[in-house]
């Protein structure tokens, strides 16, 4: 059993063209809730959430004896992470099966990445 990150990506302009009407939005939320319910029942759901857009992002990096921060996302790109799930899965095939279901619900591309290590670092 391993853990995988399912990162959903949104293209800047397309994001605004997402669920427009309240009805569309309700249907969208219903689809997402159904997949999340299924994940939960299967013991696959660890954590998940939707992120604010890149305009809300701040980057901090180390500088000489201090840190500096800049407004905006780490990578300037039209494609930005929109949200993510962390799931338990036996192997890549079962992680991909969940990813497929999420894509079916939200219609955004998903990057599936295995965790190399999880939890707190022992030192």
């Amino acid at each position: 059993m391993g853990q995988y990150l399912l990162a959903t990506y949104a293209v800047e302009d397309e994001e605004r063209a997402g669920p427009g009407t309240p009805e569309e939005m309700a249907a969208f939320m219903k689809r997402v809730a159904a997949v999340e319910g299924e994940m939960d029942a299967a013991g696959a759901f660890v954590f998940g959430g939707a992120l604010h857009g890149p305009d809300a992002a701040t980057v901090i990096r180390s500088a000489e004896r201090d840190t500096v921060m800049t407004d905006g996302p780490f990578v300037e790109s039209k494609e930005q992470i929109g949200g993510f799930y962390i799931i338990n899965a036996d192997d890549l095939d079962s992680a991909l099966a969940w990813a497929r279901k999420v894509v079916g619900a939200i219609d955004h591309p998903i990057e599936v990445r295995p965790f190399r290590a999880t939890g707190r670092v022992d030192a």
């Binding site: 036996d90 890549l92 095939d93 295995p114």
Partner: protein
């Protein structure tokens, strides 16, 4: 080296290639690690190489390799004690080895399943397509890194890197070592078939890479043996066999391409044609058509014709019609149009080719087909322009030379 020694040498080589995939596949299941499995099998081959050249090949060489490799893996793990994971696996290995040796199990389902597992793992769609090809040739085909590098015209180190990356992905992402579930099978099998087809085609137009066709056929035979109920696997094997049957007539003495129309059909390999046609007939009886089976059926019709003119072109067009419904691509439409030239004439064919031209503008065979139709219609200047464009786009040297010859002939 005496003749018997040389025969023994060749026998050992052949057995190595045959046994490699099976041995690695079983060792991966036993050790849970591809690199460990490869190392162990490599070691076992070194031992075998000396012993077999001296004493001859044992009755079950793959079983012998598996046993020796497994013992090596156990020794290796014991010596290096690479952490708890390995030691736990060691316990598994030893339980298995005391229960029953693979020598007795060599021919049974478990070992066969191992190769099937390995095919599906190597051809997982989450691995980059060119990495799938390399990994399949390495682990199942038993080709060395250098051989694969030569076949795909990259440096040894670049090919080694490709293989390392593919194996890393399998390990890091936990790509499973099993035959996919019923739900995933169609997509996964498609990937396996396309990898084998890619290997086959890489050996198609370059006499220097011809051995790849042999490797592709060998792998396809294994797949058909392991999945006898998948008609598309059988269809792919038939397609490869029928393609290979024409190879002796495909190149002229100076290495130039000879078109189907001009080939000396007495050079075709009748044995391969008959084997391919028998598979096609079996597929038709099963009546679960698919793209590979239909392409094989088209080649089977060619195999029946004593001359180009005597070919059953209406049947070929009909098969293309069927293929188009399953695989509605512009390339299939182009091939259909070329067959239509023989039933309805070059003018109808040209209209159909022109209709798909925008989609295939970068494909040299589209322009070559246009040139052929224009030439048949007596429009020589336009034909020359089309062949010139085709020659510019041609990817291989034999193709380019063939097209330049067409231009020369039009200039005469």
């Amino acid at each position: 080296m005496s003749l018997p020694e040389r025969t023994r040498e060749a026998a050992v080589e052949e057995v190595f290639r045959e046994a490699y995939g099976q041995a690695v596949a079983t060792l991966i299941r036993l050790t849970g690690d591809i690199t460990l499995a490869e190392d162990a099998v490599q070691d076992a081959f070194v031992v075998a190489s000396d012993r077999w050249r001296r004493d001859g090949v044992p009755p079950n060489p793959a079983g012998w390799i598996v046993t020796t490799a497994r013992n090596r893996a156990i020794d290796d793990a014991r010596r290096s004690a690479r952490g708890r994971g390995i030691r736990e696996q060691l316990a598994v290995l030893q339980t298995r080895s005391t229960r029953s040796g693979p020598e007795e199990r060599g021919e049974d389902g478990t070992v066969k399943d191992d190769r099937l597992r390995l095919i599906f793992t190597c051809c997982h769609p989450a691995i980059a397509a060119e990495h799938r090809v390399a990994l399949t040739l390495r682990l199942l085909g038993g080709l060395s890194v250098e051989e694969i590098a030569r076949a795909f015209v990259v440096s040894d180190s670049a090919m080694a890197k490709r293989l390392v990356r593919a194996k890393y992905k399998i390990k890091a992402a936990s790509i499973p070592y099993r035959v996919p579930s019923e739900a995933d099978l169609p997509e996964r099998l498609r990937s396996v078939l396309s990898v084998l087809y890619l290997i086959n085609n890489a050996g198609l137009d370059d006499p220097g890479r011809e051995s790849l066709r042999g490797d592709a056929i060998r792998l396809a035979r294994t797949l058909v043996e392991l999945m006898p109920d998948e008609p598309e696997a059988a269809g792919l094997l038939a397609l490869m066999l029928l393609g290979a049957s024409r190879l002796p007539a495909r190149f002229s003495d100076d290495g130039g391409i000879v078109l189907l129309r001009d080939q000396d059909r007495t050079l075709w390999d009748r044995e391969l044609i008959e084997e391919g046609q028998a598979i096609v007939r079996a597929c038709i009886r099963r009546d679960r058509p698919g793209p590979y089976q239909l392409q094989a059926a088209i080649q089977a019709v060619h195999g029946d014709a004593a001359t180009y003119v005597a070919t059953d072109w209406p049947q070929i067009v009909e098969l293309y019609d069927h293929l188009l419904t399953l695989m509605p691509t512009a390339v299939v439409a182009l091939n259909r149009a070329i067959a239509v030239a023989e039933t309805e004439g070059p003018s109808v064919a040209l209209t159909q080719i022109d209709a798909i031209a925008p989609e295939l503008d970068g494909y040299h065979l589209l322009h070559a087909a246009r040139g052929t139709m224009l030439r048949r219609l007596g429009r020589r200047a336009e034909a020359r322009t089309a062949f010139e464009r085709a020659a510019d786009l041609a990817a291989t040297e034999p193709d380019r030379r063939f097209l330049l010859r067409q231009i020369d002939e039009l200039n005469e």
